[in-house]
């Protein structure tokens, strides 16, 4: 808990990018042994503030003091020397190098005939033990899981004797279990005297892990609370500036089966990616597939989008067996898709919003004629999506990479829903989105279901499944559990199903 003095002080920091004020007179204190959460929506200025603190950016005014000493602005090396370590959201690691190499690079005198790895190993082992951050020093970083890579990032800072650690959205890329483990570790580190700041927009994490919460909105500190003295509702309201209610599912009778897998398996590269899975998807209902990522969701997503062919078993789309699948045929059969990784599979970053909006339907006569693209129709279509789905941050001609994650997701959702699909495949639709965007995406998914679409929701977020799904099946190591009506599911039972214990869960 809160120990003695203030170890870090940000004083009246202001930073402008052009006309945008990213940080407006922000003052912040961090105490010894404290775990402070910096809460705010995307674009609230959290990351900018931390980048100023670490010296990646220079503030227009204000100062940073660490352990009583003023830090020179714009010098990451000075911040490192002062005992500040930063773990970026996008890891700064070299995948082809080993763990120990990533950690010791730059810590030794450059021109020596040997790098002293035995000493480095001993120090690393000592730090690993003290904080419970176990990782094989000789493993290639590219072979590690995301959670392990994050451990390497934290170890990098600790190896350099960091006493203040800043983590930028540390759980954005982690599974639920990894995230819980991480916060356990962070709490233990705080108890051992380190001081930590983590950036987050996930309310339950902030409440569960932090000692104190500072809420940023529009670049300003709007509130400061002790984690014990506040609630999810209060924080949500402070963060967004208004009340946001997650939409609620209404009861509906399911329609006919539109997609069906019967004992379907997919083997790729000699390993079974999906084994004997069976599910039925009805019109007007949402089937939730819950599971820790990496358990076959990616292959399942490929199967239902026409990107992978079943190795054995039967897979039917609208009552017809699928023999030679192709994404184009699936799209024209009325399947809308929200891919798991929107940057890799959902959008082409360098292309404009309207091009991304029409790309999957470019062959339809609506958007092309005689091999020529109908640009006007494409732009109009994009504008319709922008208006209807409240996509902010650009018009039809803006490159899509300039949109925030939430707005890009709304566009992807919009292009699928604008021409009401019969089936909507939503894979991790709200991963990395902030509270306001989550509510918007949920509302649209429910609206699609209300309009009679069948929704296949692949997610690892328990709350999301409980709020949206009518029935739920768990995916574990490429297998699917039998389906359970959502009325019979509670977090404990779902947890057991996700662990693969189906009989006990039943």
């Amino acid at each position: 808990m809160t120990g003695s003095g203030v170890v870090l002080r940000l004083d009246a920091i202001t930073k402008r990018f052009g006309s945008l004020v990213a940080n407006d007179d922000v003052t912040l204190e961090l105490h010894q042994g404290e775990l402070l959460a910096l809460l705010g929506e995307n674009g609230a200025g959290k990351t900018t503030l931390m980048n100023i603190l670490f010296g990646h950016y220079t503030a227009d005014s204000g100062s940073v003091t660490a352990f009583g000493r003023l830090l020179p602005p714009g010098h990451p090396r000075a911040a490192i020397a002062a005992g500040i370590g930063m773990v970026h959201q996008h890891f700064a690691l070299a995948g082809n190098l080993s763990v120990i190499e990533n950690i010791i690079a730059g810590t030794e005198r450059m021109f020596r005939w040997r790098s002293d790895q035995s000493k480095a190993r001993a120090k690393l082992a000592e730090i690993s033990d003290r904080f419970g951050l176990r990782v094989d020093p000789d493993a290639r970083v590219g072979d590690l899981s995301v959670g392990e890579r994050q451990r390497v990032e934290i170890l990098k800072s600790l190896y350099r004797d960091a006493r203040i650690l800043i983590l930028d959205e540390p759980t954005a890329v982690l599974t639920h279990q990894e995230a819980e483990k991480l916060y356990e570790t962070l709490r233990a580190m705080a108890q051992k005297g380190l001081s930590l700041i983590f950036i987050s927009h996930k309310l339950h994490e902030v409440l569960a892990a932090a000692d104190r919460v500072t809420v940023l909105r529009g670049g300003k500190v709007v509130a400061e609370r002790r984690a014990g003295d506040t609630s999810k509702d209060e924080l949500a309201e402070l963060m967004i500036g208004r009340r946001v209610a997650r939409p609620v599912r209404d009861k509906r009778e399911p329609g006919p089966v539109v997609m069906q897998a019967t004992a379907t398996s997919i083997v790729a590269g000699g390993t079974a990616k999906l084994s004997d899975i069976s599910f039925e998807l009805h019109a007007g209902e949402t089937l939730g597939i819950i599971g820790v990522s990496g358990n076959g969701q990616a292959t399942l997503g490929q199967l239902v989008c026409g990107l992978a062919r079943p190795t054995s078993g039967r897979f039917e789309l609208l009552g017809q067996a699928v023999v030679s699948p192709s994404p184009r045929r699936f799209v024209s059969a009325g399947i809308g898709r929200i891919p798991e990784d929107r940057n890799a599979n959902g959008a082409v970053g360098e292309m404009s919003v309207w091009e991304n909006a029409v790309l999957e339907r470019i062959r339809s006569p609506r958007f092309s004629v005689a091999g020529l693209v109908r640009r006007a129709a494409g732009r109009t279509f994009a504008q319709t999506i922008i208006d209807r789905f409240d996509v902010r941050g650009g018009g039809p001609d803006t490159p899509i990479r300039l949109l925030s994650g939430g707005n890009m997701q709304k566009l992807i959702l919009g292009r699928s829903l604008e021409t009401t699909p019969r089936i909507l495949i939503a894979a991790q639709p709200t991963r990395g989105l902030d509270e306001g965007a989550v509510a918007a995406v949920h509302e649209e998914i429910l609206a699609a279901r209300r309009a009679g679409a069948a929704v296949l929701l692949i997610s690892e977020d328990l709350d999301e499944i409980l709020e949206l799904a009518d029935r739920v099946q768990a995916i574990v190591k490429g297998r699917l559990s039998p389906s359970v009506p959502i009325g019979d599911a509670d977090p404990r039972r779902l947890g057991l199903m996700m662990a693969g214990v189906w009989q006990e869960a039943a």
């Binding site: 970026h88 082809n96 190499e101 010791i104 690079a105 030794e108």
Partner: protein
């Protein structure tokens, strides 16, 4: 059967090391630069320039070693040019490199023509002589096949081993590798990716200059503008074949030289029945085949050809 007897001749084996030497220098040069994340297609031109400047230095009375030094320094100067354009300015590495090749090749011929009048027979110098290593050079067969080379050849082999060690075991080598894999990670570790990249390019370009100079100061004794003959491009391919590792670069260069030495001798046996151009293709065809096998497993430096800009992720 004669085609197999070639392998029993001492001449073949002695030729391999000689043919391999410029490739070893060239490949190591390209490799060091690529390990830091920068492709240097200026290699063909830099080798030509090195060949010219080395020869010219000796022709004007300089020592052979001074000739090598001049070639290394000239290579380094082109390296500075490539480095400035591709690292701080972040221009396309392909275009810059090809531009340097065109520029350096033409400039070589221009300077050569300025300094040496046109004549029917090209002027010559006295090149490096075989370095006799007591004991080793006198071994039967092996001595003649391996240990009767000129000094730069031994230098090339030793250099390959030293660089293999430096990359794998020293803090400097680790820094170079990290910059080539992820310059942002290097920066967050307090290293300066820009300085490391510039340094690696300049060093690599010096080696390319040395590779060129070997041609005029050891393999032949005169300069002509087309003498590099694609050795630079072969070096670029050998880097991939070597999976960006100096010790494998050495093996790759020797393998290519083996094909080359072999086809020369095969030509003599087969005679005029088959056009000689067919034989000239052999080493290149074999290289493509070898590349197909090796390149699939190669581990490319992840930041190769990606310009690094501070604060951009």
């Amino acid at each position: 059967m004669d085609a197999l007897y070639i392998f029993a001749s001492v001449g073949l084996w002695a030729a391999i090391l000689r043919i391999a030497t410029p490739l070893i220098f060239g490949t190591l040069g390209a490799l060091m630069s690529e390990r830091a994340g920068v492709l240097n297609l200026g290699i063909e031109g830099i080798m030509t320039f090195g060949a010219m400047i080395g020869w010219l230095t000796v022709y004007h009375g300089g020592d052979l070693w001074l000739g090598l030094l001049a070639a290394a320094v000239a290579g380094g100067v082109f390296g500075i040019l490539h480095a400035l354009l591709t690292v701080p300015l972040g221009l396309s590495q392909h275009v810059t490199g090809l531009g340097i090749t065109l520029f350096a090749s033409s400039l070589s011929y221009f300077i050569f023509r300025l300094c040496v009048p046109v004549s029917g027979t090209p002027p010559t110098i006295v090149p490096f002589q075989v370095l006799h290593i007591p004991g080793l050079s006198d071994l039967p067969f092996v001595g003649e096949a391996v240990f009767r080379q000129t000094a730069p050849t031994y230098l090339a082999v030793i250099l390959a081993l030293v660089l293999a060690y430096v990359l794998a075991r020293t803090p400097l080598g680790l820094a170079i590798r990290l910059v080539g894999e992820n310059p942002h990670a290097a920066e967050s570790q307090g290293l300066d990716p820009i300085r490391i990249r510039i340094g690696a390019i300049i060093f690599g370009s010096s080696l390319m200059g040395l590779g060129g100079a070997f041609l005029t100061l050891s393999a032949f004794n005169s300069f002509f503008p087309t003498m590099v003959q694609g050795r630079g491009w072969v070096s670029i391919a050998l880097v991939v074949f070597a999976s960006w590792r100096p010790e494998r670069a050495l093996l790759g260069a020797l393998l290519f030289a083996l094909f080359d030495a072999y086809q020369l001798r095969l030509q003599q046996i087969v005679g005029k029945a088959v056009p000689y151009q067919v034989f000239l293709m052999i080493p290149y065809l074999m290289s493509i085949a070898a590349l197909l096998v090796m390149a699939r497993r190669a581990r490319v430096p992840q930041a190769l050809m990606q310009p690094f800009r501070r604060g951009e992720r």
